[in-house]
Symmetry: C2
Subunit: 222 residues, 2 copies
């Protein structure tokens, strides 16, 4: 039975699909329409009790939380496709560190920017300019630390591409595209070179082609 | 050179120390006084550019982010002390899943409760009752999902104690102690049995004895 990935149009699911494509693992996708309430359907809640995407089904194994899923596949197919965890326990430690930084420092402000700038009108509330300003400042400070880090190594965890870099792809894609905030990347030399590198990986370009970003059913032009 | 752990009085650092004690790894602690601004000192920022605890130094290896550090030591000393990652890749996947749930679903509302109820007056702002109410509701919903999960397995990731359970100790300790919200645990039969189990582990009891919780220099009575 082919691996099933639920909710392919969502950014956090793209984190999972990017990993699977790097690992050359075949999968099929199951659409989740949040406007129709698919994510609150009892059958879906059996798989994911919090009612959010992504979730995967691999035979009788079910797993949710995007960053748990990518760790699982990076480990399961360690020697297939790109190695995304580093070669030593110490390298993996640094992958974990920057993956945590992505989750706890980078993600919250970029998520708030995406919601306020791209989704607020669709969700029926006005964009809050104070939240936008504050989130952009927070994100800028995180990117300043990345700029310093990337002056010392090509990628976040060292001189190898890893889950830590990959995990940034889905939301940074909004920043440089639909949100018109490309300058946040371009104003920082090392971050800019890093972004050019990771966003031009063949797996990511193929993913964007096969699974475009949708905002409530419309293909998002970027 | 003995492993150094920075900021032993802080709850997130206790996540690291609980893991080290389960793994029977010796360490020494380096105090960090946030009122004196130790966490913003250039020397500390060299170790942890975001200026937060914990951070560890193990010979010439430096690592920050509590959940990255516990993964690193659970892996490095896989066969020493308690096994905290599960026996198979699939079990580890579930450990990662519930560790992510702890970080993204459980932690934000319990952190807000701790700040508002225990720290607001010390930090010089009034407790926001709306935030307290909303956070308690959110945390309650998460604990309802735990209650269901723990009706099927003794621990979060399965029938074995793991990093996923351990990661809940430091902040739940505030909930059942200083915050007087023990009922949030006790009203849920399976969560209650799980909490009794994990909070009575010898390593955690020893840690509380050796490294008490401090709130701005005062031993926190719980």
């Amino acid at each position: 039975m082919v691996l099933k990935v639920y909710g392919p149009t969502f950014a956090s699911t793209k984190r999972v699909m990017a990993c699977l494509m790097e690992k050359e693992v075949e999968f099929e996708t199951v659409p989740i329409d949040i406007l129709k309430g698919d994510h609150k359907h009892p059958q879906f809640l059996q798989l994911q009790p919090f009612g959010v995407v992504p979730v995967i089904q691999d035979g009788d194994y079910t797993l949710f939380e995007s960053r748990a899923i990518i760790r699982y596949y990076a480990e399961k197919y360690k020697s297939q496709g790109s190695d995304l965890l580093g070669k030593t326990i110490e390298e993996r430690g640094l992958v974990e560190q920057w993956l945590e930084v992505e989750a706890h420092n980078f993600h919250p402000p970029i998520y708030d920017l995406v919601i306020q700038i791209l989704f607020s009108s669709k969700l029926g509330f006005p964009a809050d300019q104070d939240v936008i300003k504050e989130s952009e400042e927070k994100l800028g400070k995180v990117l300043d630390i990345y700029e310093e880090r990337l002056s010392k190594s090509k990628y976040l965890a060292g001189d190898f591409f890893s889950l830590a870099d990959l995990s940034h792809l889905p939301f940074t894609h909004y920043l440089t595209g639909a949100m018109n905030k490309d300058y946040m990347i371009r104003d920082r030399k090392n971050v800019s070179a890093w972004w050019d590198d990771i966003s031009n990986r063949p797996s990511w370009k193929k993913l964007l082609q096969l699974y475009p970003y949708l905002i409530f059913g419309n293909v998002l032009q970027v």
